[in-house]
Each structure stands twice: as C-alpha cells, then as structure tokens.
C-alpha cells in the first residue's frame, strides 16, 4: 500500500505580517507588502524596492543567543517551523523517524555579507582580518546550517538536508520531504524553505542583469505579474515550513489535514542560466509528469498558483506552459501570482506558495494577483486580478521556475 504525504501544520514568515493567519489576511485582502528598502541604504541602487518582513526576532520568541547565532534566514525558518509544529499538534515521534528538508537559494548570505564588510574593513583588505570573525561565521558560509537549526528544533535524527536549486528550492524541498514520507524513510518531516536576500550584494547582482523592478516611484505597486506595464520582479524575503505526515497516522491522531502533496516533478531547460524559451516546454513536461504521478487528469486542476515573477519572459513562458500541458483547461481555471503581494523571495517563495495553496484548498478561496490592471495581451488567462475569489477546489497546481533552468510542478489535493 502506498503511503501518502499530507500537510498537517503550516508556519509562515512573510512580508505583510508574521504568522500563517497574518499571511492569509494579506493574500485575501489583495494587499501589497512591497515598499522602499529599509534594511539597508539602497539610494545608489537601480532597484530600491523590496517586500520586507516586519520581523521582530524577540517578539517572535527567539532567545538572545538564537538571535546572535542565527542569520535572518535561519531565524525565519525556525520561527516558521515552531508555528507549523504548534499548528499540527504532533508530539511523541521517535527522533529517528523525524526528517528535515529545507530549501534556500542563497543561504545565509546576509550574515556572510555583513561579516565580510567587517573582516575586509569595508572591502579594503583582500587578505581579510580573521581576528574580527564571529564564531558563527562558518555557520553562515555553509547553507546547510539552515537545515541544522530546524533539525535541532525537533531533535531530528532521521535524514536532514538543505536543497538549493535556486528559485525552485522551496518546491523541491517540499517535494523531497513528501518523498521521504512516501518511501517510509520518515514519519514526520519538517519541509519548507527560507531566504533573506535583501542585502546589498544580492540587490546589486540583480541590478546588474536588470531583473528587478526599477519602479521606485511606486514601490507599493511595483510587482505587476501578467500586467503589460510590469518591469521586473521585486525581491522579497521570508519562510514557510510545513509539517508533513503519513496520511493514516495523521488521521489516527485526528489531525487537521490541509492537503495531500499528491504529485511533483521537475525538469530543466538545459538552455540558459537565466533565459527562458517562450514555448514553456520543460515546465509543461514537469506539469504533465506531476499530474501523472498524482493520478490526476488535466481537467482535475482547479487552480494554478503561478510562478508569476513579473518579468516579461517568465509570464509568457509559463502562460505557454499552462496551455501546452493543460490545453483548454488552462483557460477555465483561475491562475494567480502571490508575488504581486509578497514579492519574490528566491528559494523561499516556492514553500510560501505551497503554504498559500494549502490554505486556499482548506478555505476554498483563491488569492488574487494584485496590481493587475492592464493584462499583457499575450497573457490571456484568468489571472484573478485584484480581488480574492471563493472557488471550489479539489486539486491545485503550483509551479516554480528559476536560474539554472529548473522547472518544478506540484499538485496538492484536498483529502
């Protein structure tokens, strides 16, 4: 008998509000959390906008030592993991049967950069001064620290890993976690992703390739996926961590089940590190394979949570992928991008979107695409502009696309 992986706990740190319910409020209100960058002085940058989390580490329950030790991305992940565990109510699992699968695109980049600035004396010393190094510097260098911190939250002794496939990291980490449940390698998995990339080096590298929006005059409305006036993505930050369990044991303990992680697949375009071909072929293939694994037909898909980053090439690429894989069904279902509200938090966003899909299924409400006033004529699907929508859903599709050419699709179903 096959084991099914279900989501029984959801924890979120996102722009617009910390915690799962604040996040859901932001989405269903169609409220945007993008603004002028406050985390550093961005006055010399091309894009000076980001979706920042109003995260108070003390209020979030972290101790002084945890705050000292952990990079912002680790703080997000640990706070999300705690919320997910509380939400699920799960206890008493053998540590050897607990696994962790956390995704991150850029790891502890903020801590690494801050320490670099000190050790190099503002970039003046190539031979950086080791006597200024903090004891946790190695923990910033290796992104695996993010998985370590979450593993320590639950004293996990099963498989623990950090998945880093750029902007599909979040979907890939949840997929991997679900796989561990399905294979019987674990009975409880903390799966999700985290990123805190709003720092000078990350902003500068996206400036250099003009990937981020320069709409600095209108920061609150700068993330405009599928709108013809879109001009790049808006950097975000945050984390979502889910509790995954085997369905039968979740039912036995009477857990609330948000959704089943029913199918997932990934493909690569082997084309370009940042470029996408407009035909959406590899993403379409990932969707088709994920549907097959979930034993669903394309007509079963009730909602698509789009990658919707707000770059012209992405929006056209994935619109083509939806049509190619789902045929007419692509025109019949709502499609929306929460990046219009919470920005693009690189590897974390995939898991935040899984959380959004789990909540959408649970509450039968589709989050909207904010800031969509003038649809790109080449993007001719129903992108749920501006206003959330009540909608009956049994199966939802979430997709991600990222640097390296990676394309991932996941199906969540109501159980």
């Amino acid at each position: 008998m096959t084991r099914k992986a279900v989501i029984t706990g959801v924890g979120v740190v996102a722009p617009g509000g910390v915690g799962r319910e604040a996040f859901w409020d932001t989405l269903t209100a169609g409220r945007t959390a993008t603004r002028e960058i406050t985390l550093f002085d961005a006055s010399e940058f091309r894009s000076r906008i980001a979706a920042e989390a109003d995260f108070d580490a003390v209020a979030a329950g972290l101790s002084a030592r945890e705050i000292r030790r952990m990079d912002r991305a680790a703080q997000f992940a640990v706070v999300s993991a705690r919320e997910a565990l509380r939400d699920s109510g799960i206890t008493g699992v053998d540590p050897g049967r607990i696994a962790v699968s956390i995704g991150s695109a850029v790891g502890c980049t903020m801590g690494l950069e801050e320490e670099y600035a000190v050790l190099s004396d503002g970039g003046r010393q190539w031979l950086v001064d080791h006597t200024y190094g903090v004891p946790h510097l190695y923990g910033y260098m290796v992104p695996s620290t993010l998985a370590v911190e979450v593993a320590n939250e639950v004293s996990a002794e099963g498989p623990v890993g950090l998945i880093s496939t750029g902007c599909t990291s979040g979907l890939d980490a949840v997929s991997h976690g679900a796989q561990l449940i399905q294979e019987g390698a674990a009975d409880l998995v903390l799966a999700g992703a985290t990123d805190a990339p709003i720092s000078p080096i990350t902003s500068a590298c996206f400036d250099a390739i003009k990937a981020t929006s320069p709409s600095n005059h209108d920061a609150a409305h700068a993330s405009r996926p599928f709108d013809k006036r879109r001009d790049g993505f808006v950097l975000g930050e945050g984390s979502a961590v889910m509790v995954l369990e085997e369905e039968e044991s979740a039912r036995r303990r009477g857990a609330h089940i948000y959704a089943e992680v029913a199918g997932f697949a990934s493909r690569s375009n082997a084309f370009h590190m940042t470029g996408l071909k407009p035909d959406g072929r590899e993403m379409a293939e990932a969707i088709t394979v994920a549907l097959r694994r979930a034993k669903l037909d394309k007509s079963d898909v009730d909602y698509i949570n789009a990658h919707g980053s707000g770059t012209k090439q992405n929006d056209r690429h994935e619109t083509a992928a939806f049509k190619r894989s789902l045929g007419n069904r692509a025109y019949e279902v709502p499609v929306s991008s929460i990046k219009s509200m919470v920005g693009h938090s690189l590897g974390a966003i995939g898991s935040i979107e899984v959380a959004a899909c789990a909540l959408a299924l649970d509450r039968q409400v589709v989050p909207p695409t904010a800031n969509l006033h003038h649809a790109d004529p080449e993007c001719d699907l129903d992108y749920v502009p501006l206003v959330a929508r009540e909608h009956a859903m049994d199966a939802v599709l979430s997709v991600g696309s990222g640097f390296g050419g990676f394309q991932t699709a996941m199906l969540l179903t109501r159980v």
């Binding site: 940058f45 540590p95 190099s120 190539w126 923990g139 950090l162 375009n269 082997a270 940042t274 394979v289």
Partner: protein, 403 residues
Amino acid sequence: MADTVITGLGVFAPTGIGAEEHWTAVLDGKSGIGHITRFDASGYPVVLAGEVPGFDAREHVPGRLIPQTDTWTHLALAAAEAALADSGADPKSLPEYEMAVVTSSSSGGTAFGQGEMERLYQKGPSWVGAYQSIAWFYAATTGQISIQHGMRGPCGVICAEQAGGLDVVAQARRLLRTQSRLVVTGGTDSAMCPYGLVAQMANGLMSTSDDPARAYVPFDADARGYVPGEGGAILIAERAEGAEGRGYGAILGHASGFDQSERTGRPPVLAATIRRALDDAGLNPSGVDVVFADAAGTPELDRIEAEALAAVFGPRGVPVTAPKTLTGRLYGGGAPLDVATALLALRDGVIPHTAGTERLARGMEIDLVLGQPRQQPLSTALVVARGYGGFTAALVLGRGDRA
C-alpha cells in the same frame, strides 16, 4: 539489489587530475597537501590546504564559461566531461528528460563572491558584475552541467556539508529507479580565497600545524584537526541494465541520519545509520570488506566514529582507511572522491593506507590500514561521511564488472 551502477569517474583533486593519476598518488601515499599558494596565507593560523595541482581552467572548460563561473564550477565542469568520457555512455543517444544532474555543494562560489563584494564595497553597486547572479549560488554547478550536456531531467543540489556527497549518490539512485537513465552526480568545492579560509577557520575544527605530513592525522594520538582542500569527483550513475561491462561498482545501500548527541546527550547516530545502510544493501556487517572512514581528525569526532565502527563490526572487525589525509577534507567534493577511491580499490583488490597517521589514539578499536596498501580481494566497501552540525551518511558499494 544491484540495480544501479557507477560507470564513470571524473576526478579533480589535490592528488591529481584524472582518476588514474589520483589512484596512483593514493597508493604511493603522495600527498596533495601543502602551503597555500592561491593567496598569501602566512598571516593566518591555518596555512596548509590541498589545492588541485596545475589546474588551468582554460585547458578543461569552454572559454566563455570561465568568467561566468567560480573555480568550484570549473572543477565540476571539467570533472563531468572526464566522467562522461570515462563512462562510455553517449548522452546524445539518451532521451533528454531521462538524464539528470544532482550535485553536492557546501559553500558555493566563495572566491567569486569575495571578488564581487570587494567591488561593491570599494566602488559601488554598479560595479558588481552580471555573472555574480549565476556564479555564486549553490545551484550554479548543477545548472551549468545540465546546460553543457543537454540534460533536461530532474536536477538537484544537496547541501549537507561533507555528508551531502553521499546523499546526492542516493538521490541519483532514487532517480534511476523511478525515471532517469543516467545521472551526473558527485560534487566539488573550492573556497580557496582569504574570506573562504577565514570562514572555514571559524568552525574551530581545523589544524593549525604547518607540517604537511602530520597536520591531518585522523585517529592518531596527535590528531589536531583537519586540513581543508578543494576539488572532488563527479560520478556517472546509470541503471545496471544497459551498463553491462561498464560498471566500476554498484550502489548497494544508503542511509542518512542526523546526530544530536552533542546537544541532547542521546547516543550518536552513526552506528544506527551504518546498520540501516547495510540493511538497505541486504548485507550483514561481516559482508563488508573495507570501510572508508569520515576521519574528521579531531579527537572527539574520531572517537565517535571508531566506537560506531567497533559497535557494528566488532573491535578491529574490518579494515578501515582514510586516504583523504592526502587531500584534506573537500566538503561537497570529499565523499564523492571517497566513492571514486573505494571503487578503484574494489577494482584492484587493494586497500590504500591512511598516510600520515602513525599511532592510534587510546581507545581506537579499529583496524586502520597504516604504512602501506594492503592487498586483498574486495567485494564490498562502506563509505562514511559526516557534515558539520550533525549530518551523517553511509553508502555501501559493490565491485563492478568493468572490463
């Protein structure tokens, strides 16, 4: 069941470029560890490292990719090319969605990142180059290999410090069992820049000795930490069916766990992880002919490993070796290189010795192969790897049928 095999080895390591050059150096006990040459490290407490000797990216990597990628990716692109050639597989004849790339990385494009941060802090944001966005992040190597060889299957990157190098091989096996025909796996790392070295030093586990022969001596009474290194190995994994006569060895079993002993006082998980890997391989401990140890090189971590091996195999119950004393610890590249070395040992029926280590610390109840290689028929090998923070992995390999 031996359903998946390793058919190609691409080695770029401090012990040499190419699997055979590496293997000869290992059997000769020829160390790749020396004083750091890439930059002036004389002012730092750690002055030794294993650098890949004579590596010139221009000889191995397409010219346009050199400025777009970090040294860590140069090494992996070169190793992937070598491994594919060695495997005898023809990627052009395989369905594009049935080939995948899954690599381990521990620290990404560190030297590239230091260079770009220097420009940012010295000159300003507009001086940061366009390639920072694709060179530094941990997925750069997998993405570039996928593009270079037209592999459109499910690609992945696992970061679990040194243990990630075994977990990627397990992920390759998982893909081969379900959907792929060929997976490029293994990994490399290179953090050979001042900031990279200083960041590594912060873990407090590195040797500050300046004697290349004795700086990294795991299980020795004088163990005082490890020496860092760069490079690693890229491996080609394929389904056994269709790879007849090409396999260096089979992937028989794997398990991974996470050690909480230091934090919680619970027993270390290494012994249980090894037992689970043996179960997965369908082997009893007596069925293992040699163990390639993690060999952390610090007294406490060495003791935990020796106790786990003694618990599973009995005191001195199986030959144990750690040829990584010749390269230093290579992070994401370390365990894949151990897999390559173990496969070559299985092929030739010889256990390479642990160069450097002379006198076992008190209480190390293991049969560590010292002094010179030991000739004996070998059918199976266990490779152990642990990563900073608690990552623990074990992989069981079986001898191949390579003609």
